[in-house]
Amino acid sequence: MLSGAQALPAPTEAEWRRRLGNILLPLGLMAAVIFAWWAGVKFFGIPDYLLPSPGAVAERFVKDHDLLFRHAWATLSVILLGFAVSVVVGLGLALLVVLNPLAERMLMPLVVGSQTIPKVAIAPLFVVWLGFGLAPKVAVTFLIAFFPVVISAVTGLKSVENDMLDLVRAMGARTWKQVWKVRLPTALPQIFSGFRIAITSAVVGAIVAEFVGSDSGLGYLLLTSTATLDGSLVWSALLMLVAIGIALFVAVVRLEKLVIPWHVSVRNAG
């Protein structure tokens, strides 16, 4: 410990095997799932409109990739905008709640209450209020995604040791310096775990919004292709959605590694 971190030794053969396993095993599992899917469809003779075989889905994906990417792009912008608004508003609300006990009493019932409203039920209202464009979709996405941001940020901003606050107060730090120098950095690990949940919720939110009032997006594509029993298009759209969800989640995790490399959860992940 005293001599500090030495240069890492070159990876040994065992290390390479471990790294290879890290890549091959998840791929293997995915292959097994696809195989089971294919075998199930074949064995039980399931018709295409109920569950198409992986091959049929892949074929459709390639054939209609223009259509799929266009709708995916529409959905992605709703997700990203909704997530961005959730982050800004969610962090703002959390700060307000943490710094002002009265605000906490006033706002938290509304925040929690907003989550008990079924989004599917309220989404058509947003279309009526906000029109047929991007706004109602972003609003629905926000309504789902801001909640984990607020909850995790409030917990994080509150989990500062009293002694730590006393220390910086004794140094002369006022409220904003305390927030900026202590509370916010302390809360970042919690905030990021909120972001991870929020980004996946945002994907669901965007689809819900597109179900209701939209003529574009993967949600719209899912709705129309389900209505016409176009099984391979339904599954192509679903796979596209899953890919987007995983990619966004990974992006948040990468960002987290960049922002809080000092945190135990990041250091232990190696």
Partner: protein, 262 residues
């Protein structure tokens, strides 16, 4: 035993009481404390748990305001946190996202001054506490004793006349603690600070202090003052001498009379 508050005193407490209202009604934490510390003096406060030792420290640092009486630092009445103190708590309270030197420069940032102007002073302090070469490490790379040294540097970086320490070595193992005591004495002799040390350890108090103040259980009062005239620099071997044992016993008897230490 009211000490006159002279202008030259670094710490001057006159008739300071502190009451706070909790769930069980009003609690008197400190009762008419008089205390004066001359420049460069090393004061240690010992007392049973919950006697208000830490409260005393918060009053001196300006984090709390007294219910009665007056707190003066360098002759000026205290009206909130002020720049004349450096504080060290039991836990090092380092920020894990900052390197050693960034942690040490935190008070400078909070004051809104240019950290570049203090980088040299910070590095000098790092050498002083024997952490040379660790300036750019993160706290998780350091042992508990090393982390507490960083905390000490952070308290000293603004070169305050007064150092407040709240059981700074309480969380360290016995051997590291002895070593830190010796180093604190060396640093204190080199830097000529006034120190107010709160501790649970009678040995630590007698070894380090010019005067040991003994507090009673709540409401905290100063019930005895034991001057320690052992020559400096004191060696750890000195803790085994008869004179040392007699002084330690004197402190212990006062504590026992007050209800014991725990």
């Amino acid at each position: 035993m009211t000490a006159p508050v002279a202008l030259a005193d670094v710490i001057g407490l006159a008739g300071v009481s502190l009451a706070y209202s909790g769930k069980a009604g009003t609690v008197l934490a400190l009762d008419r404390i008089d205390l004066a510390a001359r420049p460069g003096e090393f004061l240690a406060v010992v007392g049973p748990s919950g006697c208000g030792k830490s409260t005393l420290l918060k009053l001196v640092s300006g984090l709390l305001a007294p219910s009665a009486g007056e707190v003066r630092i360098e002759g000026r009445p205290v009206r909130g946190p002020h720049a004349s103190v450096g504080v060290v708590f039991q836990s090092p309270l380092l920020m894990p996202w900052r390197t050693v030197i960034e942690n040490i420069l935190l008070p400078i940032e909070i004051r809104g001054e240019r950290t570049a102007n203090y980088a040299a002073a910070a590095r000098q302090l790092i050498e002083l506490v024997g952490l040379g070469g660790f300036a750019d490490r993160h706290p998780y790379e350091l042992s508990g004793g090393m982390q507490q040294r960083v905390g000490l540097c952070r308290a000293l970086v603004t070169d305050p006349p007064l150092l407040l320490m709240d059981e700074p070595f309480g969380a360290l193992d016995a051997m590291t603690r002895e070593q830190m005591n010796a180093e604190l004495q060396r640093i204190w002799m080199e830097r000529q600070k006034t120190v107010l040390l709160i501790t649970h350890s009678i040995t630590e108090a007698v070894y380090l202090a010019d005067r040991v103040l003994v507090m009673s259980p709540r409401p905290g009062r100063i019930i005895e003052e034991v001057p320690i005239s052992l020559p400096r620099p004191r060696s750890l071997g000195m803790t085994e001498t008869v004179e040392f044992a007699q002084l330690a016993n004197q402190v212990r008897r006062a504590l026992n009379a007050a209800g014991g230490i725990d």
